[in-house]
């Protein structure tokens, strides 16, 4: 049924007459109310006021009807945007994953290099310590040898002075005794 053009010879169209009657009306409806009315999500406490205002204003009624027809396209747009953004995010994620993987590889190499360097430092340190340790006992030995030599000298000196003279004296005594006994 065409609501706009019903107008027979004798009968006036109520719809056309009503729209002319309300054509000057421009109720202060905000976009939220109009969108909610078009989506069928009007709050109960606003329903009568908003529906009444729409019924009293041809232009608002047209906006609501237009929005109802647009609903499917709005859903398609929302879906399209979400899909595009999801794909873009997925690609970003993949790139970031690749970057992380590359970073991880570099990280492993760095870790290996660090470990090797640490080992090298440890080995060099150990070797140096060992080298120092093996060198200092020789020096010590030289010093000791010197001291021993000195003590030998001392011993030798002592022997020369004391005990060595005693046996010679005793020897001399034994020799003297043998001679005296036998004689």
């Amino acid at each position: 049924m065409n609501w706009d053009t019903v107008n027979s010879m004798n009968k006036t169209s109520l719809s056309a007459l009503y729209r002319r009657l309300t054509s000057a009306n421009a109720p202060a409806l905000d976009a939220e109310d109009i969108a909610a009315a078009a989506d069928g999500t009007l709050a109960d406490d606003r329903r009568d006021a908003v529906a009444g205002a729409i019924a009293a204003s041809p232009v608002h009624a047209r906006v609501v009807r237009m929005l109802r027809e647009l609903r499917t396209d709005s859903e398609a747009l929302a879906f399209g945007i979400a899909r595009t953004e999801r794909d873009a995010a997925h690609r970003r994620h993949e790139r970031s994953d690749r970057r992380i993987a590359t970073g991880r590889r570099y990280g492993q190499v760095t870790r290996w290099a660090t470990a090797m360097a640490a080992c090298l430092v440890a080995v060099v340190g150990f070797w140096t310590q060992r080298h120092v340790q093996t060198e200092s006992p020789r020096a010590h030995a030289v010093a000791k040898a010197d001291r021993i030599f000195t003590s030998r000298d001392t011993i030798s000196h002592l022997t020369m002075d004391g005990p060595r003279s005693k046996p010679s004296v005793e020897g001399d005594r034994l020799f003297r005794d043998d001679f005296s006994g036998g004689g």
Binding site: K11, G40, G52, S74
Partner: protein, 184 residues
């Protein structure tokens, strides 16, 4: 190889272009261009607002209800601006969307119309509020399901009964008061 960001931009632009074209077509279909708004301007404004919203929150979900609100606010803003601009006389009553397709109305008919409009307003005021809303929504061109949704009537069938009884009552009352016969 094209930059991925450019590809995304191109895809979004294509989506907005398609949607904008639909908005423009519907604005014309519903005769909103006759209320002082330019459908091309509205369409462009809708696209700009949607782009800005998308740029503001790239990760946020973009729901259909939000898009609908953007369109509604853009159209309402445009209508209000057109009202403010209308210092010059508004389009003639005959050019109102409600009368699109009707034959030109002469002075005699106009005088009769004013009388009938007053009669209609009076008779509608006499109808209880519960029945008046479905009738007026019906007279504004809403379908039965739309009336049910808007007025909070449980079903389209219930809306049909309310509209049908209300219209009969209205016609009878207008006839009784001497305003003549009316069609829907």
């Amino acid at each position: 190889m094209a930059n991925p960001a450019d590809l995304v931009q191109a895809r979004l632009e294509a989506l907005f272009r398609t949607y904008g074209a639909k908005v423009q077509a519907l604005l014309l279909t519903y005769g909103l261009d006759k209320h002082g708004i330019d459908p091309a301007d509205v369409e462009q404004e809708v696209r700009i607002r949607l782009w800005r919203a998308l740029e503001r929150d790239r990760s946020g979900a973009f729901h259909a209800s939000y898009i609908q609100r953007v369109v509604a606010s853009t159209v309402i803003d445009a209508l209000r601006r057109a009202e403010v601009r209308a210092a010059e006389p508004l389009p003639d009553e005959d050019e109102e969307p409600g009368s699109v397709g009707e034959a030109p109305v002469g002075p005699d008919r106009r005088a009769g119309d004013v009388e009938q409009m007053q009669g209609l307003a009076r008779c509608l005021a006499e109808i209880p509020e519960r029945r008046r809303l479905p009738i007026t929504l019906h007279l504004q061109g809403f379908a039965l399901q739309e009336i049910a949704d808007l007025a909070g009537i449980p079903s389209a069938e219930a809306a049909r009964k309310l509209v049908s009884r209300g219209l009969e009552e209205l016609k009878v009352r207008l006839r009784e008061l001497g305003y003549g016969e009316f069609d829907e």
